[in-house]
Symmetry: C2
Subunit: 168 residues, 2 copies
DNA sequence: TTGAGCATGTAAGTTGTTACATGATTGA
DNA sequence: TCAATCATGTAACAACTTACATGCTCAA
């Protein structure tokens, strides 16, 4: 695909970070993903550095020299083409409406293979961890509008867990 | 990792299908994933066939000859080791409690980069598609206990969408 | 008899993981 | 001064996607 408009979700999220956090170094991008509470966004250097190189070649970001003390680093900024690609990804309703990957939902489809006791133990453990996640620094660190996203998501998930637990 | 206990989520879901649907052919497993409403579970033959070979080598499934008319096929069944691996994956509370990948949630973190009008248009479009998904055959096909999972999930998601839309 | 769908794969390429390497900087 | 962490990568490997190939079966 030499499409030059289609990007992956990881690439979209990276462009979003570059757009939002201004000139950012590769390391800063990496840390942002590592701080994510989701394992899906591992943010390993082996994923981020080649990705950055990739989207730079495609013309979505540009590197500018960013001296920090005695050592020179490269900070990335969004280009006009990058802005277009980001917008297209961001407002793609088809992709945004997808149900994605949910490790609990996936397991639920097979959970009648274990005893009711095991099933309930799992649901209770997940509920406890979800509740505890609200106090996790990774959810607390975000600035106000972002923090709201995480908190409403968690609150909603707890409601779903309650529904699942009640309906046997 | 020659761990022989750790499996990926796709491998776990495949083991779950084999356990639940009894002796199944590779093609039947593939179709199950293709019927999934989530793009995450693409179920391409290039993913399923090598995976099946992989977990057979690891001793999690066994193939038995399943004649179908004039043509001979292989149907897979779960082994005792496969059952152990499935159980470990299924009841792993740490992994089950992860928030996974949510294409809407991911976009929300960057949605203040676009106009309020664009943001609202996206949320409305996603809400509409989510509502329509409930009538989708892929959500309707499932047998009673499974269908319930999908329907409560969708209902809950609509509530979250309403919350997001109301809070500006 | 022919096209749709059943059924089973493989090859090439892309993307990601894990693990390693290297060196600078900084606070205790 | 020394450990942590900043900072930037790469190499080997694993897993997945896309595209293709092949042949069977069955209903119209």
């Amino acid at each position: 695909m030499t499409d030059n408009v289609t990007i992956t979700d990881l690439e979209g999220a990276v462009l979003g970070l570059v757009a939002r956090d201004g000139p950012v170094t590769a390391y800063a991008v990496m840390r942002s993903f590592m701080r994510s509470p989701s394992r899906f966004w591992s943010g390993s250097s082996g994923a981020i550095y080649p990705l950055l190189k990739r989207i730079k070649v495609r013309g979505f970001i540009a590197g500018q020299s960013a001296q920090k003390g005695n050592r020179n680093a490269t900070a990335f900024v969004l280009t006009t083409q990058g802005r277009d690609a980001l917008n297209a990804w961001l407002l793609d309703a088809d992709r945004a409406a997808d149900i994605g990957f949910d490790p609990l939902r996936t397991r639920l489809y097979f959970l009648n293979l274990v005893s009711t006791a095991d099933r309930n133990r799992l649901l209770d453990a997940v509920a406890e961890k979800t509740l505890a996640a609200g106090d996790d620094e990774r959810w607390q660190d975000d600035p106000p509008p972002d923090q709201h996203i995480g908190q409403t998501w968690l609150a909603n998930r707890l409601m779903w867990l309650k529904t699942l637990r009640e309906n046997q």
